[in-house]
């Protein structure tokens, strides 16, 4: 486990916030919905946290909540991925038709 101190976390927050802002500011309007879906997929990383927390669950109550956390997080990740891929695939029809 790498220790992340308060200020290190703050620096990570700050730099990530600018990164997110920069990445999305150049997106053409036609990609806004797929992009929203894509970023929705990316916060599916919460699955990692859910797995860790569930792994450390001790009482039945913790297990129940942990189970919910993992199931919801997996839904976020998988649903977000499939939805994004389906939307983006449509933008390829042009190439297929030649």
């Amino acid at each position: 486990m790498i220790e992340i101190g308060g200020f290190t976390a703050l620096y990570i927050f700050m730099l990530s916030a600018f990164t997110g802002y920069e990445v999305i500011s150049r997106v053409p309007v036609i990609l806004h919905t797929p992009m929203m879906s894509g970023s929705n997929f990316i916060h599916g990383i919460v699955l990692v946290g859910a797995i860790v927390v569930m792994g450390g669950a001790e009482s039945p109550l913790e297990q129940v909540i942990g189970f919910i956390a993992v199931a919801l997080a997996a839904g976020n990740a998988v649903g977000g991925y499939v939805a994004t891929v389906r939307m983006l695939e449509m933008f390829n029809t042009k190439d297929k038709k030649g």
Binding site: I2, G49, V70, A73
Partner: protein, 470 residues
């Protein structure tokens, strides 16, 4: 082992950012989501090797069952859903993420309240305890709010429910939730009952926050909840000392915030206005104005002739096209017209449909080249040269009142200048006004003709009308 886990998390964070970057261009977008997907799979796999996860076989089995259940449901629903229903599916998947973040916080707080925390792997520091509570609050609001957004867009919940003194109740509930949160966040001895009460209140606040907001504003709200979930994930990432969660969550938090701003800007409404005032209540009486002229009906065959002999047709699709699933008929119409040498272009308003880009997605689904699909700034100068502007189920985004009447609630909103085309054909289901309830002066203009009917049926009439000419 630890260093290996950290390397994978680091790589996942890099893949997420590069994936998002690739997604910002139509050419590389498909590759982008695959990169992000690889990052996600790798990060999820190494999460099993975090200290403690392999210690309890029971938990491990439960994790695998939970992943299977959650993934299976999400996979099936995401595969089956119609493209037109995609916005509400994004809402529900987003809500799941928010719920997961809140549940993570709940487990940590329950551990504290039952005294299990001290011997566990993650003894929370004071800052972590506060951030866990903040993340829990944001995540819970995102969860229940997204569920309401889903219900509204799916048509399960049709009414905009406003309790008497809604704002007062909302504000009080929010303050009470905050107080509970502050007590939990700063106390050494957390009471289990208070944690439970805190979550119930946070979830209720999410519901009450979302119910008064009209269906048409939902895209902005979904985008906001998307940003919320990102932040909640980032905060829980801090609690679990997981840098990948902090980075991914914060990137989504800021990207989602920007996207929310862009959408609200396109609707020319401050975000506060969307969230805290319903559309009808702020200008209803003031905007009434005598309308000159009358609505003139046109038959499908006549409209077809008009379009068949035009040189240039601009199609303005709106929410009505999405509801009627008319995009394939529209594509057929486009092909027929182009075969006759008519130039066909599409004008997309930033807030047409239910999300920015929603129309583009539907048109792309129907196989229309995205070179023909132009946004507001590009297409507006072209309307005066168009022989026919065909408006399909769009209303407020073509209402000239936004340019002319300063008293109107939509005054100043950028609109598509369909009224400047030589002729304007409006396909519309009935004579009612748009979601804002504002009369549309375009429908009464001398050069406008109304073609009443469901979007798909009306475009079908145009298609068969043009076919008869051949």
């Amino acid at each position: 082992m630890d260093i290996f886990i950290q390397i994978i998390y680091f790589s996942a964070a890099v893949l997420f950012i590069m994936g998002l970057k690739k997604m910002s261009s139509p050419v590389t977008a498909t590759g982008g989501i695959v990169w992000a997907g690889i990052g996600m799979v790798a990060a999820s796999l190494v999460a099993f090797f975090e200290p403690g996860v392999f210690d309890h076989m029971g938990n491990l089995v439960l994790i695998i069952i939970a992943i299977s259940v959650g993934s299976a449901i999400a996979y099936i629903t995401a595969k089956r859903v119609q493209m037109t229903d995609m916005p509400q599916m994004i809402a529900i998947y987003n809500g799941m993420g928010g719920g997961a973040a809140a549940a993570i916080a709940a487990v940590e707080l329950v551990k504290m309240s039952t005294g299990h925390g001290a011997d566990g792997a993650h003894e929370m520091t004071g800052t972590a305890q506060v951030l866990a509570v903040v993340g829990a609050l944001i995540g819970a609001v995102s969860f229940s709010g997204s569920a309401i957004a889903f219900a509204k867009l799916q048509g399960i919940m049709k009414k905009t429910i406003r309790l008497p003194m809604h704002m007062v109740i909302n504000l009080s509930l929010f303050v009470l939730t905050l107080i509970a949160g502050v007590i939990i966040g700063f106390s050494d001895d957390v009471s289990f009952q208070l944690v439970l009460l805190f979550f119930v209140m946070a979830l209720a606040f999410g519901v009450l926050f979302t119910t008064p907001i009209g269906g048409a504003d939902m895209p902005v709200v979904i985008s906001l909840f998307n940003a919320f979930t990102g932040l909640a994930v980032a905060f829980e990432g801090f609690v679990l000392e997981n840098a990948a969660m902090i980075i991914a969550g914060t990137v989504v938090g800021s990207a989602g915030t920007l996207l929310t701003q862009l959408m609200a800007k396109a609707m020319n409404r401050p975000i506060g206005n969307i969230l805290f005032a319903s559309f009808g209540s702020d200008g209803g009486a003031a905007a009434e104005e005598e309308i000159e002229g009358s609505m003139k009906e046109i038959q499908g065959t006549d409209a077809a002739i008009m379009m068949a002999y035009a040189e240039k047709v601009i199609i303005v699709p709106g929410y009505g096209m999405a509801v009627a699933q008319a995009q394939h008929k529209v594509a057929e119409l486009t092909q027929l017209l182009e075969k006759r040498g008519v130039t066909v272009k599409f004008a997309i308003h930033p807030v047409a449909g239910r999300m920015p880009g929603h129309m583009n997605v539907l048109l792309a689904e129907a196989g229309i080249d995205y070179d023909k699909i132009l946004d507001l700034d590009e297409i507006n100068p072209e309307f005066p040269t168009a022989d026919v502007a065909l408006v399909i189920g769009a209303n407020d985004v073509v209402n000239p009142v936004a340019r002319t009447n300063p008293d109107s609630p939509i005054y100043g909103m950028p609109i598509l200048d369909a009224d400047k085309a030589k002729n304007c054909i409006v396909i519309k289901r009935g004579k009612g006004s748009g979601f804002s309830g504002i009369e549309n002066h375009l429908f009464y203009a001398d050069n406008s003709r109304m073609l009443y009917g469901d979007g798909a049926k009306a475009v079908g009439e145009l298609v068969s009308g043009i076919k008869e000419l051949e």
